[in-house]
């Protein structure tokens, strides 16, 4: 553990404003968006390879999760009745604007596909809707990492290169896990594989963040965020182990699938809380910036993206 850093602040007050996003709405949105995106991709591929049960489960997961995630996103707005203002403009500099143009077509396509799947109407339209959802599924699962990273929150911004892989892996663990849990064994092999690979990527990318020796990795180990990250890793690792060992039995599939989804959910809560904690303590704003300044003044060539993680302490 790094020793306590010396720094100055204005009466210990935060420098940046902590996010005003609501919890649990926003972490739930991150989780549901990931599960929806990855299961939509899985569903479309299962459809074209003739796996009707897996297709059905994946479509219902994608549709249900995306509709719920839209609901949580709207509830989080300060003026929910103005949610359509999100589609006034398209700004590539705003991940939330780009994300709105990913989420809107995705949730429309995935929601409609899930609805006709339940009702049993229009089989061709179903395949088209599933394909549209699959196109937007990957971006939906990873844009949320950019959403968090593209802020001044130290413990989010510093890891902007790794966060999309945490979220992408977590999305596959959640989507694959849920599809694994609810699909008959005869067709669940693709979900089983996706869940295992996704959980592996999630754990590896998380390790890359937590093992970073920069001070901004500290909030991932401390307090509420630290406990959530521990729980997330425990769920994901045990889910991964069970999936490998007994994932091809019905009870094993259910238990490991649910554990992987729970791990993904806890990861989103942990990352969210770590960011909030790093914003609330001026240490995480001042110390990395001081290090950056010191490195610049020492004439060191700071890497072009100039982050604290590249500077030795």
């Amino acid at each position: 553990m790094v020793e306590e850093a010396q720094f100055t602040s204005y009466y210990g007050r935060p420098i940046i404003k902590p996010p005003v996003w609501k919890s649990p709405e926003v972490p739930l949105y991150l989780f549901l968006g990931g599960a929806a995106g990855s299961s939509a991709v899985l569903g479309a591929l299962a459809d074209v390879t003739g796996r009707p049960h897996l297709t059905r489960v994946a479509r219902l997961t994608a549709g249900g999760s995306s509709i719920a995630s839209v609901g949580f996103l709207i509830i989080d707005l300060g003026r929910p009745e103005r949610f359509l203002h999100m589609l006034r403009v398209l700004k590539p500099t705003s991940p939330l604007s780009v994300g709105s143009y990913i989420l809107a077509p995705f949730s429309a396509a995935a929601g409609a596909t899930a609805a006709v799947e339940l009702l049993g109407w229009f089989p061709r339209l179903k395949r088209f809707g599933g394909a549209v959802a699959a196109v937007f599924g990957g971006p939906l699962a990873t844009y949320t990492a950019v959403l968090l990273s593209n802020t001044a929150v130290p413990s989010w911004h510093a890891f902007h290169g790794k966060m999309p892989f945490v979220f992408g892996g977590s999305a596959m663990a959640a989507g694959g896990g849920l599809c694994l849990a609810f699909t008959p064994l005869a067709e669940s092999a693709p979900a089983h594989k996706m869940a295992i690979i996704g959980a592996g990527i999630e754990l590896a990318a998380l390790r890359g963040i937590e093992r970073n020796d920069s001070i901004v990795a500290e909030p991932y180990h401390r307090g509420r965020a630290g406990k959530l990250m521990q729980a997330a890793k425990a769920c994901t690792a045990s889910g991964l182990g069970l999936a490998v060992l007994v994932g091809r039995t019905r009870p094993g599939a259910v238990v490991s699938g649910v554990l992987l989804a729970a791990g993904s959910l806890l990861t989103r809560f942990g990352v969210f809380e770590a960011g909030v904690a790093s914003a609330e303590d001026p240490k995480y704003t001042v110390v990395p910036q001081r290090e950056r300044l010191a490195a610049r003044q020492a004439g060191d060539r700071v890497a072009s993206n100039g982050h604290a993680s590249t500077i030795t302490r």
């Binding site: 003739g50 003026r79 902007h160 596959m172 067709e187």
Partner: protein, 354 residues
């Protein structure tokens, strides 16, 4: 129209025109205004002459009809911060000017109690007309005051032969109206916009309260108003500017600590003021937000400070978050492709049992 052309910068990472980062000589032009737009305006806040009267805070609240709040930004609550003469606490949705107050003490060796005008005790501060009489005065004091007596007199300041010298720092903080404004970049609705004066303003009838601008400001200026849901911040009195008036805070400031004007004129004035102070031996004076090569491309509202920025609650090296956005989009695209690849190999690599 112009937002289309900024697509390339955000996606490719090539930013030769400094659309995301770096100096930008014509911010209004970059935002799409015609060549005959007004000059860029701003604030130069010279904290070396701030007396902490908070007239700027009052004028701002009055003109902009801002709700009352306490030092933590809680609306419609009155209360003392309990930390200093600063009961305003921070900038936020309901506070667009905030006078920071810092009391600093440093140990000095007795017997040199400080009397007379501020600065007279500073070494190398040049000749003083009081030099002659002051020497005899100090000698007289030495004869009656000693460390022991003083420490008995005031146990708080007298500690083992040293006394403390006190100075007060006061600084009126405000939205920086950055050249590259994080809040403006990330706003998904277009509620935040660049005015013809080069300032950054929220349109209250557009903002849907998504809150994305709040953690994206590297200075922690903008915030959501509880009970309203939308975000608010300094408009640099956009309404007054369009009528040819000065912003309320600059109008109210009794010491010209807050100076309003065209940005290039203010920059020249600040450079001259810094040179004067340096010549007078104020080694700690520095300009903050003046450098157009800094992380936000220079600020429209910049400061002359007498200590490190973080002492005043300002970030020492702020960088607009969207500088790294091209790299983020590339990572997200790679991760999305990874999901497709994993799903494809999972599906194609599994044999159907039926």
């Amino acid at each position: 129209m112009t937002s289309i052309s900024s697509v390339s910068a955000a996606y490719t990472g090539r930013d030769p025109d400094h659309r995301l980062y770096g100096p930008l000589p014509d911010v209004q032009g970059e935002a799409g205004y015609d060549g005959d737009h007004p000059a860029r305006v701003g604030f130069f806040t010279d904290t070396s002459v701030c007396i902490g009267c908070k007239a700027c805070e009052v004028a701002c609240k009055e003109w902009n009809a801002l709700p009352m709040d306490d030092s933590h930004g809680t609306r419609d609550v009155i209360g003392l911060s309990g930390m200093s003469y600063d009961n305003t606490g921070q900038l936020g949705a309901n506070t667009w000017r905030h006078v920071a107050f810092i009391e600093q003490s440093r140990p000095v060796d007795l017997p040199t109690p400080t009397f007379g005008r501020p600065g007279d005790d500073r070494q190398d501060s040049g000749p003083s007309p009081a030099d002659g009489p002051r020497d005899t005065q100090a000698a007289a004091q030495q004869s009656v005051l000693n460390a022991e007596a003083l420490s008995e007199f005031d146990p708080q300041t007298g500690q083992s032969g040293t006394d403390k010298q006190i100075r007060w720092l006061m600084s009126s903080d405000v939205c920086k109206h950055c050249t590259h404004a994080g809040c403006l970049d990330v706003c998904p609705t277009g509620a935040l916009f660049r005015t013809e004066f080069g300032t950054v303003v929220v349109q209250g009838d557009i903002c849907n309260g998504c809150g994305y601008c709040v953690p994206s400001c590297p200075y922690g200026v903008i915030n959501q108003r509880k009970g309203d849901g939308r975000v608010f911040k300094c408009t640099l009195c956009y309404d007054r500017l369009t009528d040819g008036l000065m912003p309320a805070c600059a109008t109210a400031c009794p010491t010209q600590s807050i100076q309003f004007g065209n940005l290039d004129e203010l920059q020249a004035r600040a450079d001259a003021r810094l040179a004067t102070l340096k010549r007078q031996g104020v080694e700690t004076a520095r300009l903050y937000g003046r450098d157009e090569d800094d992380g936000v491309g220079g600020a429209g509202a910049f400061f002359l400070l007498l200590d490190e920025p973080e002492v005043y609650g300002l970030p020492p090296d702020p960088i607009v978050t969207t500088r790294d956005l091209p790299a983020m989009w590339r990572s997200a695209a790679a991760a999305a492709a990874m999901i497709i690849g994993v799903a494809l190999s999972a599906v194609l690599g599994s044999r159907r049992t039926r």
